[in-house]
Amino acid sequence: MIESSELPARRPGTGGTHPELALAYAADDGSFAVYNDYSAGRAVFRPRSETPPPPEVAATWRRTRDGGQVRPVAPADPVEGYGLFTFPYGPISMGVPESGRFDVRTYGERILALVPVAGYKSRRILASVCGQTVPDAALRIERLAGNFSAAHATAFLSAAESAAGASVPRGELWVRALAQELQRVYNHVHVIARVAEAASQNVGTAQTQALAEEMLRVQGSVFGHRWLFGALLPAGPRRRLDAGDRRDLSNVLRRHAATFDRLWELFLGSRTFVDRIQSTGTVTPSLAKEWGAVGPTLRACGVPWDDRLRVPTSPYTDLFLDLPQESGGDALARLLVRAHEVRASFLLIEQLLDRWTTTPEALEAPAPPVAPSRALGRVESPSGDLVYDVTLSGDRVASIGMRSASQANFPLFARGLRDGVFTDFHFAWESFGLVFSEVDG
């Protein structure tokens, strides 16, 4: 054990700026920014003329349109000391199935600083959809992060609809919410399985993986596709959502919800599991607000922010959402939040299926644009706040910006691992639910 007084000196002034309110999104061209006012529980929209985004924060979030830049996705965290070296881990790294790099400053035991480096798998999606029609662009956007496809499709489509001033049939909005909640359950269950695997909970891992597979099968049977590709697009695979199908779905999900409850009870009863993830990858509330953490990462440090409540759209405005909140900020707190959210999502789905809209054809007006032909689409993806900024020219995408939950949370993962040990890496990594493809675009 190394005492903190023995730790190498950290250069002052690298802790980032301390904006009063963290940014939710800063437009690429700097024309505006959206802030989350945590104390008031609302989002604040600021045009360019007002407070500019704090540069150090904004720099990690702003999109490079042309992609293909291998770059750090968390601020530099320089530490100095005798015998320190930088150990690059990746881009093809053991245990992390996606390609990305982690530059670890260490002298062999502790992680003194960690900087994630992304861009290896940039598919240049944002650049390549410019000039495409909205439905064609949507085929790429939903593949921006396959396991968050419903969130990306919904955020993009609602931005495009607002930009075009196009009303949307209510039924579509309900279907989008259903798809998103199903995918949230899948992702949270998957994250719990990954953390359990890292903690060598073999039986629990297998059971939880099985439940994740069940959720993919549910998505496949309702939407024709295990990852919901095409599910929210006009010409997608046939959906099975008539009254009988909804009854079947509700029965199947009730069974899966009960299974989840039993699994989670067993996990919480396992001391080795709980001990292993406690105090790992801790994010403090001030760090979370400073860097603009989102999603379960934010809610795990006691900030009750969720787009479904703070910037709600139909049908969430009419549904009851039991929002979890934890205060530990560590991997355990993030898992507690996710587990609670699995239940909350099952409950949301039950409400959706019970009260399925009787007027699916009724048109709902889109949110107002932020400028002519330019609008934001914002949804709570499984890992948190996701923002699309779409400008249309006719029926085509003229320009597009995006800020994903993973982009927002990468700096927190890096800070959370600071001064940890190597064996913490996988627990921390999995508990954040970060996806490189969502950062690379």
Binding site: P97, S122, V203, Q207, G220, P237, S437
Partner: protein, 247 residues
Amino acid sequence: MPTWIGQAVRHGIVTSRYPAEPASEAEVPPTGRPPVAVKGSKLLPAGASLCPVGAISDRAVDRGRCIRCARCLPGGFEFRGPVESATRTRTGLVTGEPSPAAPEPTPPLAALSRSVHVFLVDAGSCNACNLEVLALANPFYDSQRLGVFFTNSPRHADVLLVVGVPTEEMVEPLRRAYDALPAPKAVVAVGVCAISGGAFAGTPGLHDALDQLVPVDVYVPGCPPAPVHVLDGLLRVVGRGRKAEGA
């Protein structure tokens, strides 16, 4: 007092009988089958103009391009192709009439005829292909029962499984991983991104075809392929793939 054993018994997970028996409907959703032209449909060949990735030409579908978007369905196509659609050649992925592709000869690659140790490389994926490959370890598929193991080191692997459309930035790491595998080795391209660029074909800065970078031994189409498809592809490496249905 709940226990893991009690939970396991109650949950009753049924391990797939694939490939001894055909894949079940639960294992392969509608889009898990490639589209084929509906016999005698008057709509044809309208499908070609509806396809966003140019996978259709006349009545033939290039499964190596098809992203399963369903846009061709109103144009006289149906998701009714064979479940087993992995091939040993790129051209084998192009299917003509509604009849399934002729089964290909699948001689095992030398010295790889028992178990396979697989190293996964993500060359530029959306993450769904990665997760479908990893799903082979879940108790539903339990790929170890068939001698398919995943390894964390390319030096212990005999199969390089590549997902995603190779980005310029991943070409070098990909080549290094390929070189690190000891011979004899096989490369399996999983998902249409790796086969043809899939939904991203033609984007500057991306390599549309993995087989232009490293030799590919087995092609597994789909966007993403379901776990049984990946299993089929891996078993084809060792000559144990299921014959296409109806063949």
